[in-house]
Each structure stands twice: as C-alpha cells, then as structure tokens.
C-alpha cells in the first residue's frame, strides 16, 4: 500500500498524523461516493469536466477536429458516479486526423479521437496548453509549469522538456457513440517519486 496509496488513504494518513481533522471532513464525504476516486474503468463514458456542458457525455461529433482538447472526467454508467474524486482521473480528449496517428495510437482511438491523462508525469501539474511544438508546426499538449510537450499523435511521446516518459493513454472503444473507455490507463498516472 505504501507503494501506491490511494488519495483516500493519504487523507486518512494526514488525519492520523494529527493534521486538520475538521477541514478535511467535507472532502472525505465527497470522496466516499463509491468509485469516485478509482481510476477510469472499462465501459466508463467520458463527460465534459468544465464549461456550459460540464457533466454531459461527450460524443465524437462534439469535438472540433484538430483540437483544442477538452478536459473530461470518466463516469461509471451503472452508478452515474463521475470519477472526479481524484485529480489524477482527469483526461484530455482531442480529435485528430486519423491519418496522422501512428499505429499504436490509432489502436487506442475512437476514429481520430484520442484520450490521455491530463496530469504531467514530470511534477504532476495539469496540462493546460495546446500550442505549436517547440520544434515543429503541429499543435501539441504542453505543460506550462516546466514546458514539457507531448505529441498526442504518437502515444503522447515527450518531444520537449523534462518529462521522463509518455503520458498514460486511455484507450477508447472504436465505436461511433458516446466516448467509452476500452481499458484502464496505459502506464501510471501522475509524477513518480524517485525511490
């Protein structure tokens, strides 16, 4: 458990070490929603994380070809729980030209729609920018904390900056309907502490 504590366990740990019991109660209650902190599961749908349509299920036709990406949460269709109990569950979804995707990326895409963890694997910042790559002419994901850039056409490979590895991909089912998760994250989300 020490190797991979859940956020819930960490909060409990903070409580046990004597920290600020009162102020943590409300967040604890929110996270008690079953599954809200669990990583995205197969058959989850993706919903808008922000904006006028926050909470609505995302369909491929909702997305603008070529980006920018939208931020999304996974949602358990059986319980209707949106898995926003952990920021590590936030996902970037972007619609690209399928012809631009490499084979590995295409295998995880719904048409040209690809999904990745929204959390930079360098020091855990949210990835917020969609800008021209430092060394190219295509738009890519950029973490503005420390300038890491990831190419969503090539499995979010690192193309600039200090990030040590690719963003975890979230495979999508190759269907036309609502965006649906086909498998759990490929790789560990978030920054990894050196051992």
């Amino acid at each position: 458990m020490c190797q991979d504590p859940t956020r819930r366990a960490l909060i409990l740990t903070a409580l046990a070490t004597g920290a600020c019991i009162a102020s943590s109660r409300s967040s604890l209650a929110e996270e008690d929603l079953p599954g809200s902190s669990e990583r995205p599961q197969k058959a989850d749908v993706l919903v808008f994380a922000e904006g006028d349509r926050a909470g609505e299920v995302i369909k491929p036709q909702d997305l603008q070809a070529g980006g920018p990406p939208v931020r999304a949460w996974p949602k358990d269709p059986k319980t209707s729980v949106v898995r926003k109990g952990s920021r590590l569950n936030e996902v970037l979804v972007v619609k690209l030209d399928p012809a631009e995707l490499d084979e590995e990326t295409r295998s995880r895409a719904a048409g040209g729609v690809v999904a990745y963890s929204a959390i930079c694997v360098h020091t855990g910042c949210p990835i917020t920018a969609w800008v021209k790559a430092a060394g190219g002419d295509k738009d890519v994901f950029k973490c503005v904390c420390h300038n890491s850039e990831y190419d969503p056409r090539r499995s979010a490979e690192v193309i600039f900056g200090p990030a040590p590895r690719r963003l975890p991909a979230l495979p999508l089912a190759p269907d036309d309907g609502p965006l649906t998760v086909a498998a759990t994250f490929v790789g560990k989300v978030g920054a990894q502490q050196a051992r």
Binding site: M1, C2, D4, P5, R7, A9, L10, L12, T13, A14, L15, A16, T17, G18, A19, C20, S23, S27, S86, R87, L88, I119, C120, T123, G124, C125, P126, T128, A129, V131, A134, K142, V144, C145, H146, N147, F160, G161, P162, G190, A191, Q193, A194
Partner: protein
C-alpha cells in the same frame, strides 16, 4: 472515522514516513543553541546564509586567491533525484545535512562523504509541484526542520533522521506549499508560504521547535479592519498573493526578523488596484509574537510578478559620513536598495537600477517609492512589454556581502525583457492563476545584447560598480557566496561550471565543470583544520524555464543542461 480506517492510517503513517537508509546514527552530535546560532563558529554553516544577517560571507581564508587554482574535488555524492537543487549544504561540526527536491534530507560525514542516514518524504501522488525544490534545513538543539512541498513542516532527529513531529501548515490541494529553509530563532521554527501563482494570501508562521505547535501566524496582507487593508479594493486582499517563500534574516540586537514578500496576484496591476500592502515588501516582525513592527514596500501595485522575497542583508554601512544600520537588497524590480533599519521604521537611503529597466522613471527621494512608466505596466486586454523580464534583475538567488572588501556581489541578469497580455481569469482553487495565459509569457533578449548573466560587484556606500563579469551565452541563476579568502563562488550558468572570482578585481581564478547546472548556494566550512567549499549541482525550476524560453532566440545557446543532483566538495590539493 471507523476504527479500521484509523488503524489503517496509523499503519500508513508509520510505514511511509521513516528514513530510507540507516547507515548509522550520528555520534557526538553538537546540539544547536541560541548562542551558537547567534555567533556561529567560523567553520560552520548553520543558517541559510551562514549568519542571521544574511550576508553569505564566510570568515574562512585557508582557501584564498593565492591557492584557489589548486582546488580539487575531494568527494561527491549523488542525491538520486532531478530538478532544482537550491539548498546550501548545512554544516554543524563535521556533519552535513543536504536537502533536495522531493522532500529528501541526507546526513553525511562532511569530511568523508559517508552517509549517516537519509530521510525521504512520501509525497502525495496527486500533488503538483510548480517549484519542485527545497532550500535547506534549519537546526535547533538535536533536531532539524524541513519545509515540504505538500505544505508540512517536519522535525527530524538530527542523529537518526527519524520524524519527531510533523505539522500540516495549510492545504496543498489549494495551491499552498513550502520550499524555503526554516528560520530558527530562540526555539521557534519560522516559515513562510509559497503559492503566489495560485491565489493565496501570504503568511509567516512560527512553530514551537520541540512540539510543532503553532505559536503565531502573521498574514502578509492585512485583513478587514487592519492597517493597510484599505490599500486593496473589495475582496482582492483575500487572494492577493504576498507569498513569503524565502528565509528571513534576523537582528538579535533589536529582536527583529526581516522577511521579504512576494508579488501581488494575479499579475496585471489593474486586477487588484491600490498599493497592495504588504506585497513586494520587507516586513519587520517580532519573533515572539509575529507582530509587525514596520515595513518597507519596494514597489506598489506589483504587476510584473516581481517577488521581493529574498530578505535584505543586514550590514553596518559607512555612508555619508556615518554608520548606517542598513538593509541592502538588490531587487527583482531591478533597483539596488539601501535602506536604514530603525526600531519603528525602515527609511529609504538610496536606490539605483543595477540592470537596464524601462519600468521606472525614478524614485521619490523622501518616500523611496519608485515612479512607474505606465507604458510598461501590464494591464488587462493589452500586450505590455517590460524590462527586466518577470524573473527580474535578480530573482531569489542570493547576493553576498564581503566584510573584507565592503562590496555586494549580485547574480544579476541583464538584457532580458518580458511581456504578457493581461486577462481576467476566474480563480479555481489549486490551479494556476496568473492573469494571463501561461503560454503567452515572453522572454526576449534586448536587441544588440552582448551578454545576459552578469556577476556584479557594487560598493553600497557610493553606488558605484566595482567590477562585473559577463556571460555572453547564459543567464546567471545561482546564489553567490563570499569568503575572507577574497573569493566569490558562484555557479548559475548553463555550461555547468562552478567558478571562483577574485573579490577585489573580478578576475576569474578557477572553474570546474560539474554534472549539471548549479542553482544551489555554495558554502565554505572547516573540519579538522581543513577548509572545504561545497555546492549542490542540479539544474531545474526557473533556471530551466529561462533556458527553455531562450531556445531559438540566442544563437549558440547551450541547450543541453542535464538534470540530476550531486553534492560536490572541494579542497586545496595538498
């Protein structure tokens, strides 16, 4: 909370927060007392800048201008982590404590480099670190104190590295974090919060060194009804910034802490109209109560992200025919400040730009308020350019004062300008809140620039520059240390060099290429009659950001500065 959950938590706490390795406890550890902190032995480095006055000056002179050419590495130690290694190795009678990014402390034999113990904090996996660094551990009696990026202060047993107490300061999920070395004064552990880019209200807080109990907390922005609150409009003060993320200095004679404060938030000035007390200021605090005695604000209505958190040096200065109890601060706002500290006030004495700036038209002679040129003050809805850049004439890396030469040595950056387009952005707890798009922030070399980094030596008595050393292809982003051997040590450049300069002439006397770039603070210490120089090499954070921003803009710029921390220790070859 259910009993089962409670037991689980205790189990986690006890298994995750222990030292990783235990090569052996430290024997014969020298307890740190108030007297030793007030008058540290010449061979030790127990404060951030060695002494409470913040001068960054070592009285050791065994290594000097005549033998520094024979300086060689005697041992190194790999920290095992990447990102910015900014801390001075802390020395107490032959023991070295090294703090690194990721909340790690390594205790080493300062003579041999052998490890005693290592503590590594288990950081929350959902933590995001805008500034993944740490600037050192404070000492008191047989304990040491670490401030963490998940916003805790942790007391460790200095002999074993075991946790003695662990106090949560605020909530990391709301963008609050700590990177500084705690200041220890008479049994109080004093820290200030980071988060000026995340909509916080800054504060300085003191804990009981033995128990971790909070003793006082002073907000850097006055609340409703408090003096200075009227320098804000509406509720702007609640999220107005004024972070306090660097260690303060201390005057034991008057029992006054001098603590620097950060930028107003968000960045564009018209999003928080008013003077915005006490952002971009130095505060004079009573260490017993936290009560503010007085203050000086370096500039009003900050609009440039110009934190003035690096605390001013306390120097007895001979100027204008008298001795001035001065505060000396080369500001991020490009102004070299000479102030006079009095019991109930801080008076402006002199100020002048030490790098090119187009923001200030002058300084009001009585109040010391700089006069702004509105054409270079960022606002909402318009792209505004300004010099120097948002990293300023000198960012957090410390300047030094030599008691031998009477000069101030500044790790300055010249010929950088910046700009951004201000926009109204709603605050979301725990997310960046700059008042501009982060990708819109510019760093631009001035046309015709011949260099960027500039190690400067200034005479604070006359305002004259004694010498400077220019770096044509690099910024200078590392703290400076002076020694009685008339040497100035500094890293800070993208060529991975660690250098020694002649304090009187600026002549480059020695250099050593290291594993990475150096953003850390050099120190001098002595064990068993031998003087050593130590520094951490480990590039990252803002030195890296500047580097990234310069790619493609400066022909021939070194673009490969590898990361990964190593402690380097040097001595004169016998």
């Amino acid at each position: 909370m259910a009993l089962k959950q409670w037991l689980l938590s205790v189990l986690l706490a006890s298994t995750c927060l222990v030292p990783i390795a235990a090569a052996g406890p430290i024997e014969n550890y020298s307890p740190v007392t108030a007297e030793r902190l007030k008058n540290p032995e010449p061979g030790n480095w127990m404060h951030y800048r060695r002494t409470y006055d913040g001068q960054g000056y070592s009285p050791l002179d065994q290594i000097n201008t005549s033998n520094v050419k024979s300086l060689v590495p005697v041992w190194t130690f790999s920290t095992g982590v990447v990102e910015g290694h900014e801390a001075p190795p802390i020395i107490n009678n032959g023991v070295m404590f090294v703090a690194t990014p990721e909340g790690q402390v390594i205790a080493l034999n300062a003579k041999t480099g052998d490890e005693y113990w290592r503590y590594k904090r288990r950081l929350p996996e959902d933590l995001f670190q805008l500034h993944p660094t740490n600037r050192g551990v404070g000492l008191w009696e047989d304990k040491l104190y670490l401030a963490t990026t998940d916003d805790h202060v942790v007391a460790l047993d200095a002999k074993t590295g075991k946790v003695v107490w662990d106090t949560k300061v605020q909530d990391y999920k709301k963008g609050q974090y700590l990177t500084l070395m705690p200041l220890v004064v008479d049994g109080k552990v004093i820290v200030g919060g980071s988060g000026g880019e995340l909509g916080v209200r800054g504060y300085v807080v003191a804990y009981d060194a033995n128990t971790g109990k909070e003793l006082w907390r002073t907000f850097t922005i006055p609340g409703t009804g408090e003096t200075g609150n009227d320098t804000w409009k509406g509720d702007d003060w609640k999220t107005g910034g004024g972070s306090a993320w660097m260690t303060g200095n201390y005057d034991p004679d008057t029992k006054t802490i001098y603590w620097g404060t950060g930028n107003a938030a968000p960045w564009p000035g018209d999003t928080h109209p008013g003077d915005n007390l006490y952002t971009s200021s130095v505060l004079a605090l009573d260490p017993d109560s936290g009560k503010m005695k007085t203050y000086f604000q370096y500039h009003q209505n900050d609009s440039w992200d110009w934190d003035e958190v690096d605390a001013p040096m306390l120097v007895d200065l001979q100027r204008d025919g008298r001795t001035i109890k001065s505060l000396i601060h080369p500001g991020r706002n490009a102004i070299f400040w000479v102030l006079e500290r009095k019991p109930d006030s801080i008076k402006y004495v002199a100020g002048w730009p030490f790098v090119h700036t187009d923001v200030w038209k002058g300084i009001e002679p009585e109040s010391g308020k700089p006069i702004v040129d509105p054409a270079h003050k960022p606002i909402i809805g318009k792209r505004v350019e300004f010099c120097p850049s948002l990293w300023g004439g000198k960012d957090w890396p410390s300047a030094a004062y030599s008691q031998k030469t009477g000069l101030v040595y500044i790790p300055a950056n010249e010929n950088f300008c910046g700009g951004f387009t201000g926009e109204k952005v709603p605050l979301v707890a725990g997310q960046l809140w700059l008042g501009t798009k982060p990708e819109d922030i510019g760093l631009t070399p001035r046309p015709g620039a011949t260099h960027f980094g500039e190690l400067q030596a200034w005479d604070p008595a006359t305002g004259k520059k004694a010498w400077s050393h220019n770096f044509p292809k690099s910024q200078l982003f590392g703290s400076v240390t002076a020694t009685a051997g008339d040497l100035i040590f500094v890293g800070g450049t993208n060529d991975r060099m660690f250098r020694a300069f002649h304090a009187k002439t600026g002549e480059l006397l020695w250099e050593q290429k290291t594993n990475s770039g150096i953003v850390g603070m050099p120190i001098a210490y002595e064990v068993d009659g031998t003087q050593y120089i130590a520094v951490q090499s480990g590039w990252g954070v803002d030195a890296q950001r500047i580097q990234d921003a310069l790619v493609g803009k400066v022909p021939g710029l070194e673009n490969n500065v590898p990361q990964g921390g190593v402690v380097w220790v040097f001595a004169v070859k016998k």
